[in-house]
């Protein structure tokens, strides 16, 4: 891959990240004009106490001054303190990141892989019953509200049939460690991951099918057949790699949707991740927490976009070796 392409993309991502950090500051400035009043809502403050607290929080400085403070603090990963728990925002985020990474990671991978496979199957069997059912199924799952699907799965399999746990990441009563603990966690992960996977594989299937249908009309496929290649190999070796390109472009966009979906789905399943934290921060409203979460979500999106861009460059030589 040409170095120029690589550095270009990385530099672009960094610039976007910096822009988002600045944007974050001004966005929340609009929301919270008087943090002191909000923080000490229940208590009566005298004028001098209020002035002292304002000075302590650095809120007596000009907006420019506060902005510089904010940048310094953010660089040191000091994202303020949660209104609700009074813990540093950054430590809360660190604790809750793991479960979300596991949930979103697994769902993103499975929805992409299964969606692409379904799309290939549908395009190859165009206009047959298989194609119509896959397309119909994909459109239906695309239209399902992900959290509603979660509610239904929860009701049927957890509450109703009792096959799977109803929430949380592990059985609170269990003291297991090692492999049994992982198994327990996996059981808890199953339903939320299933929900997110099903909700988002439809888009992949539809895009892959569409892309493959376009690719199947290309001349180089006739050439491949003329060489004596079997149809299956023509599809897999020539059509699919070319058809995958738009799907890779979709990866970045869809990641945003999966991340968004995780917020509601974690709430349904009480999965102790960043999504549940967002849900609770909305209810607060816990503004420092929301601000920190917004920053983390944006950073994750930017990073994922970068990965998708680089992957696209790796797969399409026309882009990286122009």
């Amino acid at each position: 891959m040409s170095g120029r392409y690589l550095t270009g993309k990385v530099a672009g991502s960094l610039a976007t990240l910096i822009f988002v950090v600045c944007f974050n500051f001004f966005l929340f400035r609009v929301v919270e004009s008087d943090p002191v009043a909000t923080l000490f809502r229940g208590r009566d403050l005298t004028q001098s106490q209020r002035a002292e607290l304002t000075r302590q929080f650095g809120l007596d400085k000009s907006t420019g001054g506060q902005f510089v403070d904010y940048l310094k603090q953010t660089a040191q990963l000091n994202l303020g303190r949660s209104y609700t728990s009074n813990q540093p925002v950054w430590s809360e985020i660190k604790d809750k990141a793991g479960p979300t990474v596991a949930l979103v990671g697994i769902s993103a991978v499975f929805s992409a892989v299964l969606g692409v496979l379904l799309g290939i199957a549908a395009a190859w069997r165009r206009r047959t019953k298989a194609d119509y059912s896959i397309t119909g199924f994909s459109m239906a799952t695309f239209s399902i509200p992900d959290f509603w699907l979660g509610m239904i799965l929860l009701t049927v399999f957890a509450v109703g049939l009792g096959w799977l746990p109803t929430g949380g990441i592990e059985d609170p009563a269990s003291t297991a460690t090692g492999v049994p603990k992982l198994v327990d966690q996996a059981e808890h992960l199953f339903l939320p991951a299933l929900t997110l996977t099903v909700a988002y594989l439809g888009e992949y299937a539809l895009v892959m099918r569409s892309s493959l249908l376009d690719t199947m009309r290309e001349d180089y496929l006739v050439l491949a057949r003329a060489k004596g290649l079997r149809d299956v190999l023509v599809r897999n070796r020539h059509a699919v790699p070319n058809a995958l390109l738009p799907v890779v472009a979709l990866l970045a966009i869809n990641f945003g949707f999966v991340l968004a979906g995780a917020i509601a789905v974690e709430a349904i399943f009480s999965w102790p991740g960043l999504g549940l934290a967002t849900y609770e921060a909305i209810k607060g409203p816990d503004l420092p927490m929301l601000q920190g979460l917004f920053l983390v979500f944006s950073a994750a999106m930017i990073f994922f976009n970068l990965v998708a861009d680089l992957l696209y460059g790796y797969l399409d030589p026309r882009v990286r070796e122009a």
């Binding site: 050439l223 491949a224 004596g228 070319n242 797969l315 399409d316």
Partner: protein, 339 residues
């Protein structure tokens, strides 16, 4: 491919390399079938060259596709296509795949998307080699790829390039090299020079001519541009509305065409310095007929400058128009009607 030229043998002792009988190609469409090829007979001996000319839509590309059964699924192909004595149209799929590229190969038009855009050209040639000789090792395959590239005038290191990094002429050369990869006895060149500018066209034609003489491979050269055929092909056939309307030795057909359509085609090429040409009207009025609504009798009569009253009512066939020549027109000497 061995470097010695193929041994010359008297044509009469050998079965024809390709023998097409009553070929019909009908595409499936919502409103019914679209007849693209309506009964074509063709013969090609070993090492012979045949040019196939006509406007777009006359059926020549459908004909080429039919020879190796490469048309879209559901297309109706009837008749007989004997390649080295075997009927391609009735072959089992396994045999068909083995025959493809080894007995006959196609040189496609060198457009950007004739080659897989995300694969190196060397790999695309190697794929053809490996498909038909399982026992060749990696190094041997790579060596063969290099050999083929040099055969068509490209340095061997170009194997590492992607199609978009090559010029149109270079891509066309790659496609020719690719077609020769498995030593086919027949090359079907479908518009190999159409997308190229004149200088590069001449180079590619020269290359094809050299390769043909060196390896004795039979060539069917399909194009809408008659001027490119005269030197490379010994015989010429002209197609119109799914049928062959004239056939004969290429220089004779080119210099004294028997069919009015051929006459129009040859007249349409500018000859620099020919003052007589400047006086003639160039180009052919009207459009090729819709295959679903062909004119009665001779399909060319609505556009024909030599049409007479019997043309719309006479079903034309290829009649003798001279030694080794035939044309489907009521005016030729062998036609069984009075004009």
């Amino acid at each position: 491919m061995s470097v010695e030229p193929a041994p010359a043998e008297p044509a009469a002792d050998r079965a024809p390399l390709l023998s097409v009988r009553d070929l019909h190609v009908t595409y499936r469409s919502r409103g019914g079938g679209i007849p693209a090829v309506r009964g074509v007979d063709l013969d090609l001996g070993v090492g012979e060259t045949l040019g196939l000319a006509g406007e777009s839509g006359c059926g020549k590309t459908s004909l080429a596709g039919a020879l190796l059964r490469l048309l879209p699924r559901g297309t109706e192909v009837t008749g007989e296509v004997l390649l080295d004595g075997e009927d391609v149209l009735t072959m089992k799929p396994g045999r068909l795949r083995a025959v493809r590229w080894t007995h006959a190969a196609i040189v496609f038009q060198g457009a950007l998307h004739s080659l897989n855009p995300v694969q190196r050209v060397g790999n695309q040639i190697a794929e053809a080699i490996r498909l038909h000789s399982k026992r060749m090792g990696r190094a041997a395959v790579a060596a063969r790829v290099g050999e083929l590239l040099e055969l068509v005038g490209l340095p061997a290191r170009r194997a590492r390039d992607y199609p978009h990094q090559l010029s149109g002429g270079q891509r066309q050369r790659v496609l020719i090299g690719l077609a020769l990869a498995c030593d086919p006895r027949l090359l079907i060149a479908d518009e190999p020079t159409t997308a190229l500018d004149v200088m590069v066209q001449a180079q590619v034609l020269r290359l094809l001519d050299e390769l043909q003489q060196r390896f004795g491979v039979g060539i069917i050269f399909i194009t809408h541009d008659l001027s490119t055929l005269a030197d490379v092909c010994r015989r010429l056939a002209v197609m119109y509305a799914g049928r062959i309307v004239e056939e004969g030795p290429s220089h004779e057909v080119f210099e004294s065409p028997a069919h009015p359509y051929t006459r129009a085609l040859t007249g349409a090429f500018p000859v620099i310095g020919d003052s007589a040409f400047r006086m003639q009207p160039a180009g052919l009025p009207g459009d090729p007929p819709d295959p679903r609504r062909l004119p009665t009798g001779c399909p060319f009569h609505p556009r024909c400058p030599a049409a007479v009253e019997i043309c719309p009512s006479t079903p034309v066939e290829l009649w003798r128009a001279g030694a080794e020549r035939s044309a489907a027109c009521v005016h030729v000497s062998g036609a069984p009607v009075r004009t």
